[in-house]
Symmetry: C2
Subunit: 274 residues, 2 copies
Amino acid sequence: MNAILYNGSDDKRFVPEESQMRIEAFTIDGLPLVGEGDDLAGMILDRVDFENYDILAIASTVVSKVEGRVREISEITPSDEAQRIAQKLDEDPRFVEAVLDECEEVLIEAPFMLVRRRGGHVCVSAGIDRSNIEEGKLLMLPKNPSQTAAAIRSRIFEETGKKVTVLITDTNGRAFRVGQTGIAIGASGMRPLLNWVGRFDLFGNVLTVTNEAIIDEIAGFANLLMGEGDGGTPAVVIRGLRVFEDVDVFSDIIRDENEDVIIAALRQMKSRDT
Amino acid sequence: MNAILYNGSDDKRFVPEESQMRIEAFTIDGLPLVGEGDDLAGMILDRVDFENYDILAIASTVVSKVEGRVREISEITPSDEAQRIAQKLDEDPRFVEAVLDECEEVLIEAPFMLVRRRGGHVCVSAGIDRSNIEEGKLLMLPKNPSQTAAAIRSRIFEETGKKVTVLITDTNGRAFRVGQTGIAIGASGMRPLLNWVGRFDLFGNVLTVTNEAIIDEIAGFANLLMGEGDGGTPAVVIRGLRVFEDVDVFSDIIRDENEDVIIAALRQMKSRDT
């Protein structure tokens, strides 16, 4: 039994070794299509009876829509830089301009744009979505997803008195492996990393796994339950897993750009290619 | 409601839109410490009443132990190559030798060894574990985890008649983000990728997310439930998620080494540094 996790409903942090961990997860169905200014937290509260330590995962797309993070492609004027990269990609330069506007650094220009966003999140095309939005429009990632998560967490606490963890998720590619998985791009009410330092293995040795990115393990599973597209559900509750803490420390999960060996390699490659 | 997933117990592949998806996950507690030749499948069968379409996730460490994938550090003679890399890493050259023995290519030598294993799995130190094993010994990843998963799946079907998906999981670092997450290193009884091509988004556009690596979204969550070290549980069941198919196609998830831009960048960096 994993002592730092939790499977009950009262306020204890640890559970006895003999108890089995049981987790429940469910989709929040029936949410309407949302638009700018809609009360997303209210819509969720209408549909879920929260319990203490529930984890609420929300797809970034709905947060972006509520926040009006939409651009009209026709209103974008591409820069020279955008024109240059668009040619390499055989892509609409206005789309490339939108990506450049969202990011701090382009790590790979082609065959896809891998960029570092403000705040450090590395993703393809700055996470801009052309699906699940009307044609001719672009949906950007939320401006400050952790702030949004914190606001939703407060609102749930105010209305229900329940301590709930809130994650904002997005679908992200990764190195070396095919396919995309859900990750958290913002959160409130949990530590993203579970630090095993000082704990012992089965033979009394100190553990070498020091940081487990539990937030992304949760976000990935939530993303799977959400699905994609017209059959998807943009919000999921995971119940029975005690990760709640009254903290806002999401940025712990972003590796310092100057300590990342793969960023260093990509920068070298780019400086050689351009 | 995500139409390709499933929340019931009969044989239908699709569920009506109005039904909510509910998932349950639990640890398999009370497994003894295992050793070479132990009947792992039997131990699990003694403790779980499987249902059709259950997903059984097993930590690679216990599979490795049952398969005797253990080396005595004292019996390893390091090569010149191992000596050279060990010096850069300030590491035991015998450990480096064990890593080299397990891998096809070293992508990064220092500050940590990132290698490509036979079969294409990219990981740090070839996934060799010095935790959860007696001091002076190394635990290698299972030889052929998908084969093991297939054998366990067959055994469960023979004894119970239940169609179960089996995953073997390991804990893996990743680019750009701090912390490690669980991934699948082998599987039987599911497709690792869910292909959304041809499906439509909420506005009738064709989806751009084509491949969701659902196997790693499941493996990550299972890894979280397992925990690490002396309080950990090496096996987990996820119930209510219909991903079962009678296939053995795990290798779909490994990206072709020659199509991976990040591998290309790491090779360039290495050829410049050495």
